[in-house]
């Protein structure tokens, strides 16, 4: 039996078996940002340790940066302190830092692939759970805590247990108006938010093979929302074409060498898996995650679930979701009124996401009641979108065109929900309080669905707008 990608990458990077039984694993790329790194650098300083491989660590600022103007010092003193700490730590240790004046700044999971830093066959770690995103390029990428950020800085390794691998086969084709976001929401709704505990998810099958790299990034991004710390897609011609000529991708004579290595890291055709799951993409409709976790999702044509009809294990969380959202059990999700529309995040803040949303917004107008924000995932995404005139399309439709950052995905900057506002959001988490207001409510959907909701002032079916 052949080997899957996870086991190939793991074996290549295994340094030794630790006394506990976990593996010491070498990390090929380490990404840091301002929120989870200052304490790690402080721990290094406390122990007098240097950064072992500064050339494999890259930093940017994304979580706390304001998106309405980048003048320094930031109005928020705490945010300014975090920026200064990151800048000082990067400078002190010789770590390349993509700050707001670099032209390369952006959400860490947008710039890693975009700059060609994220490559097949690498192990990638970052103090952020959505690091699974980079698995779309055929890397083993996962989120870590701050003490582990310290470990990577000091040793370029981590103590980890090897996960099992579940192969997720996506068959069929997506109909127009149904996107990668709907596929991953469909997978999580089927397998549950804890279904991936102990597993890495390998996504494949005809629907995934047909996807662009940006769509694949969306799928892998939300692996963690299904409980899987790692999600990946085997590298193929789409991957290689995406990487060609990127800033940090191998160039010249090194390209062929890299290609040979990358091809060899893909799962063998006869590779074994610990579990398998099949999703039929033909039957998928645009999804809306309505509750308090991303697994509480229904198709846009469906009704919200009746607690009594659910398995006993899910009832308690659904009842909690109704208590928080105030939505009516059994009501159609379509027609749910919204107050805010947010297009952006590491899930859906890339150029193709903005293009799809702009197709919906073009020549239309956001409902006057709705506060609509478009936050590009990076400065490169922003510049590319502006070259195509997407910023104008959005502005003319009544959307605000903002500067890059995590923004309203997690409400650490001034972009937050107020009171009980309902937000149609292209982000990844609808947790209670996630978007900055303890009583705010989040409906997760694709960027095109968010644009359709902004225009209708309520949840709408984007397939009808596009047809």
């Amino acid at each position: 039996m052949g080997k899957n990608l996870l086991n190939k990458v793991w074996d290549l990077h295994a340094v030794r078996r630790l006394p506990s039984g976990e593996d010491q694993l070498f990390i090929g790329l380490h990404l840091v940002h301002e929120v989870t790194s200052p304490q790690a650098f402080a721990m290094l300083a406390e122990r007098g340790l240097p950064v072992l491989h500064p050339e494999r660590t890259f930093a940017t600022a994304d979580h706390i940066v304001p998106t309405d103007g980048s003048t320094r010092p930031f109005a928020d003193r705490l945010a300014e302190d975090m920026m200064r700490a990151l800048e000082a730590n990067a400078a002190r240790h010789g770590i390349r830092y993509f700050g707001p004046d670099s032209g390369e700044q952006g959400i860490v999971h947008v710039i890693g692939p975009e700059l060609g830093l994220s490559q097949p066959g690498l192990t990638i770690a970052c103090g952020d759970s959505h690091t699974s995103t980079h698995g779309a390029l055929g890397a083993i990428a996962f989120g870590i805590g701050t003490s582990q950020v310290r470990d990577v800085l000091a040793t370029q390794t981590l103590s980890l247990a090897r996960p099992k691998v579940r192969r997720i086969e996506v068959r069929g084709r997506l109909e127009p108006g149904v996107y990668a976001k709907d596929v991953i929401l469909g997978i999580i709704a089927s397998l549950g938010v804890n279904g991936g505990l102990g597993y890495a998810y390998e996504y494949g099958g005809p629907a995934v093979a047909a996807m662009s790299m940006e769509e694949r990034l969306t799928i892998c991004n939300m692996s963690i929302e299904g409980g899987a710390r790692v999600g990946y897609i085997n590298p193929d011609e789409t991957t290689f074409a995406y990487l060609r000529d990127r800033l940090f991708a191998p160039g010249g004579g090194q390209w062929e060498e890299a290609l040979r290595f990358w091809r060899g890291m893909a799962s063998d055709p006869d590779a074994g898996y610990d579990d398998r799951f099949v999703l039929d993409a033909d039957r998928l409709q645009p999804m809306v995650a309505w509750g308090i976790n991303p697994g509480q999702a229904v198709g846009v044509g469906e009704r919200l679930p009746l607690p009594a009809e659910l398995p006993a294990g899910n009832r308690e969380t659904v009842e909690k979701a109704y208590a928080h959202t105030g939505f009516t059990p059994g009501a159609p999700v379509r027609g749910t009124r919204i107050d805010v529309a947010f297009i952006g995040s590491c899930t859906n803040g890339r150029l193709s996401d903005l293009r799809e949303a702009a197709r919906v917004a073009r020549g239309r107008r956001a409902a006057s009641r709705v506060r609509a924000l478009v936050v590009p995932g990076s400065q490169r995404v922003s510049a590319a979108a502006e070259r195509e005139g997407l910023d104008r399309v959005f502005r003319e439709a009544g959307f605000q065109w903002r500067l890059p950052g995590c923004s309203m995905c997690l409400g650490m900057n001034p972009d937050v929900l107020v009171g009980e506002e309902v937000c149609a959001s292209s982000s990844n988490r609808n947790f209670i309080g996630r978007q900055g207001s303890p009583r705010g409510r989040t409906l997760l959907m694709s960027p095109a669905m968010v644009a359709a909701a902004a225009i209708a002032g309520e949840v709408a079916d984007v397939r009808e707008v596009l047809s």
Partner: protein, 208 residues
């Protein structure tokens, strides 16, 4: 680096139950309290949004219940600590006084973060979680004893088996949860692995 004062074989304390599946790390510590370059201030904000209503009044959350003041073992249900990788969540729990978490299951990054700061997390069957929560609610002064060596939790005259990955158990029994020293001991092998990685030797990132 393992050290004698990092060894955790067993610990005892009273319990505080927090009911509900899929309690995420945003709920344990909302992101707006993470705007800090240290972990020092987090203890007072743990579960903040669940502890206060819209008017800022206490909701009667177990963490505010005087009967659970001084409790050190947190009881939870399924998939506790899901979502964000923020170590701020276990740091906030530890700052409040939590020394161990007992739940039906844990999100992986959260469990790893707890381990990295010397906070044991162990799993019990759903029935055991329910029995332990009832005990803590009806007899909040009851003492629990978590024995990692015996993989057992004693409470209210009952014994419950607990589960945790063997490697994680060894980390506590040998006092090696503070990993950085241990990892540095492998410096020679780290160099060996680096030397065989083609992306370091044959096609490294171009210099900036």
């Amino acid at each position: 680096m393992s050290s004698a004062n990092c060894v955790i074989r067993a610990l005892s304390g009273r319990a505080v139950p927090v009911r509900g599946n899929d309690i995420d790390t945003d709920r344990i510590i909302p992101a707006r309290f993470m705007k800090t370059v240290s972990f020092d201030s987090l203890g007072r904000w743990v579960f903040q949004d669940a502890r206060r209503d819209a008017a800022g009044k206490p909701t009667g959350h177990p963490f505010d219940d005087p009967r659970h003041a001084g409790a050190s073992i947190l009881l939870a249900n399924r998939n506790f600590g899901c979502g964000s990788s923020r170590e701020h969540a276990p740091q906030a729990l530890a700052a409040w006084g939590i020394r161990a978490v007992v739940a039906e299951s844990f999100a992986e990054i959260f469990a790893g973060n707890c381990t990295a700061i010397g906070l044991p997390v162990v799993e019990v069957e759903a029935e055991a979680a329910e029995a332990l929560m009832r005990l803590a609610e009806t007899r909040p002064d009851a003492e629990l004893r978590l024995d990692l060596e015996a993989r057992r939790l004693e409470a209210g005259g009952q014994g419950y088996p607990v589960r945790l990955p063997e490697a994680r158990r060894q980390v506590f029994l040998t006092g090696s949860w503070d990993t950085v020293g241990l990892l540095l001991e492998g410096k020679e092998q780290i160099r060996t692995v680096a030397a065989r990685l083609p992306y370091l030797t044959r096609f490294p990132y171009p210099a900036g």
